[in-house]
């Protein structure tokens, strides 16, 4: 069974430092973009940057980039369940109420 064990990769401080700088830059970026009126695109940009930052944290700070396929499935699965919960509930809210106009994209 030993072929299933990955060699545990040690992420170097250089990688951690690079990710730190990238995260700080993205934080400044998200702050400045929020002040510009882009209409509905403010939401896409804000969420896009947040998803990008979260991806960096998961891949490198949390070592997913170097992890086993089993772990990838668990992580992908957990976000899949989250997506199910969000999409099914929102699908209901958007199509059901007649008194309140739900604007998902604000």
């Amino acid at each position: 069974m030993s072929e299933q064990h990955s060699e545990h990769h040690i992420v170097s401080p250089k990688v951690y430092g690079t990710i730190l700088v990238a995260l700080l830059i993205c934080t400044v970026l998200t702050y400045y973009v929020a002040g510009i009126d882009l209409g509905i695109f403010n939401n896409f940009v804000a969420l896009g940057i947040a998803v990008f930052k979260a991806t960096l944290v998961i891949l490198f700070f949390m070592h997913m980039y170097y992890s086993t396929r089993l772990l990838w499935i668990v992580v992908a699965g957990s976000f899949f369940w989250l997506a199910l919960m969000l999409l099914i509930t929102l699908g209901d809210y958007v199509t059901r109420s007649w008194d309140i106009q739900h604007r998902i994209f604000f």
């Binding site: 069974m1 030993s2 299933q4 064990h5 990955s6 060699e7 545990h8 040690i10 992420v11 170097s12 401080p13 951690y16 430092g17 990710i19 730190l20 995260l23 700080l24 934080t27 998200t30 702050y31 929020a34 002040g35 510009i36 009126d37 882009l38 403010n42 939401n43 804000a46 969420l47 940057i49 947040a50 930052k53 979260a54 944290v57 998961i58 700070f61 949390m62 992890s67 086993t68 089993l70 772990l71 668990v74 992580v75 699965g77 957990s78 976000f79 369940w81 989250l82 919960m85 969000l86 509930t89 929102l90 809210y93 958007v94 309140i100 739900h102 604007r103 998902i104 604000f106």
Partner: protein
Amino acid sequence: MHSSDHSAHHPALAHHFHDLHQQKDATWLAMWVFLATEIMFFGGLFLAYVVYRSSYPEAFAMASNRLNVPMGLGNTFVLILSSFTMAMSVYSAQVGKKGGTIVAWLILTLLLGSTFLVVKTFEYREKFEHHLVPGRHFDFYSHWEGHESAASHEGASASHETANKTSHEASASHEGASGKTKGVREVQIFFGLYFAMTGLHAFHMIIGAGLLIWLIVLALKGKFSAEYNSPVELVGLYWHFVDIVWIFLFPLLYLLGRHYHS
């Protein structure tokens, strides 16, 4: 099968694992399964946020503009920095650095985490002073003619009562709502979600701080080596997860109304 040679075992290797590698894979898997439940835990609150924000976008934008953005932004930097120092704690443990180096990075992480919580305390205090905590004393307008004049309103509580009352009535009848009294009920929903989401996040930070103290004690006792450092790695995973939650909370709560002027 493999239980024969006990003397060759690493002291940290549990008997039901073949070797330290397998043990490590199993602990990482278990931690991620736990984090999956945490994702769903916070996910419910994010879902509530999306549903209510899509119902009352203007009220949410107005309410968001009353949060303290400099404190939120500063805390974002502090938390990202703490994720870096946590990652460095993991690195120090993995390459088998002496306890002192691991302890130094862990203490730095603990200090940054505590800084976050202290700033959060001041933010909550400000919300109480501005009557922005949902409930009987919620008062969105009387304490807000720009930041500075909020304190000077202290004496005029009688006029607050009436202003508050009319605003409640106005929002109840919905149709008759006009100008400044519009949407007070909806604004309370934002602050309810604000306290629930940041409160649950802060609670996770407090637990994380406790875990860091536990790691510091273990590191001081010299328990960690290049072969065995799972507690540091797993607390690291937890700490980074809490960081990710904040990465979403900051734009969704603090920044959503910044381009909205009214």
